[in-house]
Amino acid sequence: MAAVETVHAGGIADHVHPEPQGFVRKYIFSIDHKIIGIQYMITGFVFLVLAGLLAEVIRVQLMHANGGFVSADTYNEVYSIHGSAMVWLVVIPLATGAFGNFVFPLQIGARDVAFPWLNMISFWLFPPAGLLLFGSFLLGAPAAGWTEYPPMSLQGAPGTSMWCAAIFLVGISSTMTGLNFLVTLLKMRAPGMTFTRMPLFCWAQFATAPMSMIATTALAAALAALFMERQFGVPFFDPTKGGSPILWQHMFWFYSHPAVYIMILPVFGIISEIFPTFARKPIFGYKMIAFSSVSIALLSFMVWAHHMFTSGMAPALQLPFMVLTMLIAIPTGIKIFSWVATLWEGKIRYTTAMLFAIGFIATFTFGGITGVFLSAVPFDLHAHGTYFIVAHLHYVLVGGSLMGILAGVYYWYPKMTGRLMNDKLGHWTFWLFFIGFNGTFLPMHMLGLLGMPRRVATYDPQFQHWNQIESIFSFVMTFALLLFFANMLWSIRHGKKAGSNPWGARTLEWQIPSPPHYYNFKHIPTVFSTPYDFAEPLPYAGLEDELNDTPGPMPAAVH
């Protein structure tokens, strides 16, 4: 066993601020990473409800080939805001802001993130951005899809500029969060918490943070350019003034492809925590899973143009993008195989979190495979811009990211609130969600290949019966989400008391009370090994006082 590093004396770890007492400083403008994580979660779920309602407007409209529920213009606004909100206001903030903030500082044995004030500012940029985005309906919302390709977005209603501003704000928030997490992970790990002993969720955040930082800044540049062109007529994208619409696509996708992994890598981390805990086994191939996260993050910066195969790029450029995209299948495959192997000879406990995690593997594998299909240029020439794409992206974003997030909520809810969510209702939620999800999105693959383009308010009547089936299943999925929210709200007061470690999990956050104290740890623990060896004693020292009445660390003098 490696030598134990000496505990820092008098450093940040021993520098505890007094807990703020007023309601505002404690729960609103809090600098506590746990409160901020929960704030992200609540805000993210509020936006999920709003964007989910928009999704149901889409599904109701598509019940009939001639539409008729809303006008074509309204429909275009609805799906544009649905897409933008789900990506920037729901999945990214939940995957990084919510779980990142709440979980990983606890997992590495830190008292907070490196820059708590910056963290608070990051969060408080996010709700105004959401209000701006949904508020754009008042001025005429953007209608060119979440990608807002010019020149269409240059013609767009005034709300399009609000869209730019909103996404710019969440972008800055995401950049600052990435920076904060990266420094925290590099500098604030507990003694003995080497990189090869970090829980895999931390590895996932470690791979995600630089992507949030770098890619999001590139998006900020694109948004600023679009905003300047719309408001001040500065030509970047308008071809009649010498600009190039393709330039936007390059700038947008240079961000938005890494963004796909910003949305899925943290979820990979969640799954990698849930699997060993409930299979009562070490995660299979720890190093390969950690390494594959990092290699996916690196590759993600080199594949953006695979979204642009039909836009008119030199054929010779298509080849490297195609091959690099296919390469991502290898690290992703390694992860999936490792998770499946983790189940082998386990003692699997079927909590709701585990069900969602297993469901995640099934749907994500499917979405991953159609992703490989799309990376092949000739196949993409057919499928691009059709419902096949819609199906693929929902398989990875809903069946992938969102299901992983739900699994994470069931898993960490007891740590956040001290109470368990109702497991029986959870099982119902899972099965309804899983069936509803597949029924909604599976037929879309076929419809796309048969000739149904995406972003249409009306369509060929020959596709109507399949669309009706999809809509009905989507109601089931929505109902399941309502059950989930009901469960969350009900359990805050009525859930079973969880205790510190209801799952018998071995990572650090489960060794302290639920919910944790303001200062997280009475004494910063020392770490001896990876957390996943169920046959061994816990590899931590210094946690003896956590669960008894010993007083916590004395706050240092107020500065």
Binding site: A114, L118, L179, L182, K187, T217, V234, H250
Partner: protein
């Protein structure tokens, strides 16, 4: 923490040496600041990519009716900025060597050179707009990319001038000591970053 008294002459106030908390905090801040600069580089890189991309879409360059930018004037102005980089370097070195007077002189020189650079850029903008009628929004991608990128850089220089002035005032009031001067380190890093960005902008706008 002992309240540092006003520095007299060439002697900086001393405290008992950096404590563990300061050392660790400094490391965090330094890393955070470097990462901030990295994301700022990405911001510039994105616009530089946009500029080079647009320039290579097959239009003549510079566009018809616009003369080439004035390299001679810009070179002199660049020298002013690079000079300020040197003075900034010496300012920090003198701080480290406990030489407060020289530090203050070099710091003031840096700020003055920064302001001169901004003045030069203002002159260049005025000439372009009044004589050649090149504007931000009315001169196609030339005006758009030139004014956006140099404007962004100019904004960074202006922020830098304000930042350095603040640092100078703070050091006059004894905020920094011989061992605790992270603010000055960050200011120096920022100023060098602004210099390096200008090297790139100068090359792509004036030289190629």
């Amino acid at each position: 923490m002992a309240v540092a008294s006003l520095p007299h002459g060439d002697a900086l106030a001393h405290d008992d040496g950096p404590d563990q908390l300061y050392v660790e905090t400094r490391e965090l801040r330094l890393q955070g600041f470097l990462l901030f600069l990295v994301s700022d580089v990405v911001l510039f890189a994105s616009f530089i990519f946009a500029y080079l991309y647009l320039r290579n879409t097959g239009q003549s360059w510079p566009p018809a009716g616009i003369s080439r930018l004035d390299v001679a004037f810009a070179s002199v102005n660049s020298m002013v900025l690079f000079g300020s980089g040197c003075t900034m370097h010496y300012a920090l070195e003198n701080w480290k060597h406990n030489n407060f007077t020289k530090y203050a002189v070099f710091m003031v020189a840096t700020i003055v050179l920064g302001v001169m650079f901004l003045g030069g850029q203002g002159y260049e903008y005025t000439t372009l707009m009044l004589k050649d009628h090149v504007t931000w929004s009315g001169s196609g991608i030339f005006g758009a990319s030139f004014f956006t990128l140099t404007g962004m850089h100019g904004f960074h220089v202006a922020v830098g001038v304000i930042y350095l002035t603040t640092l100078l005032l703070q050091s006059l009031h004894g905020k920094y000591t011989k061992d605790k001067y992270f603010g000055l380190t960050a200011g120096t890093l920022y100023w060098h970053f602004v210099d390096v960005i200008w090297v790139v902008l100068f090359s792509i706008f004036y030289l190629i």
